[in-house]
Symmetry: D3
Subunit: 126 residues, 6 copies
């Protein structure tokens, strides 16, 4: 494991549960086809970028939720709302961030994202 | 002036200088063609949305910068970096938010946005 | 109920059946998470925007179908084709509008939208 | 000249002035690099698609303005607002179509498009 | 059958199996609603564009895979990865093309596309 | 200089002239604001991704041109057409790749990209 990989794994723990972190290390859905993708995500996205100083984890999560919602990426919207909650964003802050997008992306993408957020909140509250 | 317009103007002052707020009320570049657009922006975007509780002004500015950069909207990137600084975001926080976007939108949009950010910072520091 | 909400509900009736209008008032899928979204849609989208003079309901429906297809938003494509039919667009006009998009967005988004349109037409003709 | 090219040129005259139609036939800015692009636009876009029955020229122009604004394509926004006016859309109808987009794409793209529309209207009214 | 339709069908055979080509001619999922769409795809996309000289079939397939992945179009990503394999792209070349997109579109769209690619490869290898 | 930086610089030389490579090392337009962006581009984009085996430099350049054109990124379209020519793509191959995009993104983005390509070709042929 490279130093960047180790740093990435450490950083990921601010955004996911222990269980999820273990799952990310031990299994990789794309292992057969593109094992290097997971490596790039951990080393580059988490090791090089998320780990930078100057912006706290909550704000980084907010930025990432915003960009995936703006792009209309449903699976990543779910993942990053989960990670945002883990990083310390409250449900209210996430809902408000999504409503704040209405004047900038319109209702459709926000409505789709709030539907996903509601599912994530319900699963968490169960 | 409707109550929502008044509330919008009040909210805008968290994001722009007094001078800019006055300019927004007294002159409107689209007055001849679509005078209601400015009214909608002040009443709906600022009066109804930005003014909501549950997320602070700095975080709202971060969300808005992120969405306009993700969409590749150059003029709005400039405007909302200026407003984010006024709302209390530091230059470092803005740069870090833009770098945080690299793993989610790629280098081109981030590079274009950082070029605009550098211009805004230089104008402010003059 | 604010005046804008009342105006919005009145305007919506040009685009949806009585049954659907009642459903929109009485139940809200996002009531737990973001009850204000529905309020914003009715007050702002329908009360302030759709209700404006100067463009007829059929043309407004055409504009909305076009933008959601261009953005690749599948659930909204279904909703707004249904509303366009209710507002008086013929099936032929909708199909022609989608084919008119081929030279501007390419085949994939048009093909996905026509597949949705065919389902909506079939449900309506049942 | 193929039959489709002739049909395309005939159809274009619903959207552009005589002068512009002549310019499109006699000069081609991309003649050196990709002369077939103009041929494709005239034969396919105008000859095959715009010329279809079932939707009038004004509605086709409305669809095209909407899609290029949604995509944020500035040069095409200018061109197709000019063509829409020639096809019979009024300035009011174009402004209303752009405002109708606010709840679906947000303020930035609409504001940029209205700025372009205002320039086109001013040039026409000179 | 027009000459362009014949040329289109011939060209398609570089990208699909005999079985798929027959299916494309004999059945059309959108036959009830928009029979001209299939005609346009075969005549224009394959007859006029794919059949052009100057770029080989493998490179054309690479361009098409790249654009549909960049646009986040899931059904077309599947279709065009299948066609790319038929045109002679190797599984490695397709995976590398998708990874090459990470610095330009970010991880989410690439991850979604690789998941689809893995399914296509698995079906093919069965 | 890290090993990845060195590898990135080496890889870049397949895509740019010696002069341009020197310029990239010695000057950095964003040095004041975000010096790490250039580092990320060289280390991650070129060192980790472009340098991978399994797809030749010409094909990688084709993928990158396609994605930036699909996204409508004008400055990057210019840069990557220049790099594609340096990597060995012919002017004809680039024009054909752009025309191949018409059925997938429509005429506007292709027309804008061909206008840029024509400028790049003219500068090179001077």
């Amino acid at each position: 494991m490279s130093e960047r990989f180790t740093k990435g794994l450490e950083t990921i723990k601010e955004y996911v549960t222990e269980e999820e972190a273990t799952r990310m290390i031990e299994s990789d859905a794309l292992a057969d086809t593109a094992p290097d993708l997971r490596k790039m995500i951990i080393e580059f996205a988490y090791g090089d970028v998320y780990s930078r100083p100057g912006l706290d984890a909550k704000s980084r999560a907010l930025v990432v939720i915003t960009t995936v919602v703006t792009q209309g990426e449903a699976p990543q919207t779910k993942t990053h709302i989960q990670r945002g909650l883990h990083a310390g964003l409250t449900q209210t802050e996430i809902v408000e961030a999504l409503l704040q997008l209405v004047p900038y992306v319109g209702f459709p993408r926000v409505q789709n994202a709030l539907t996903i957020a509601q599912q994530v909140f319900a699963e968490k509250n169960e």
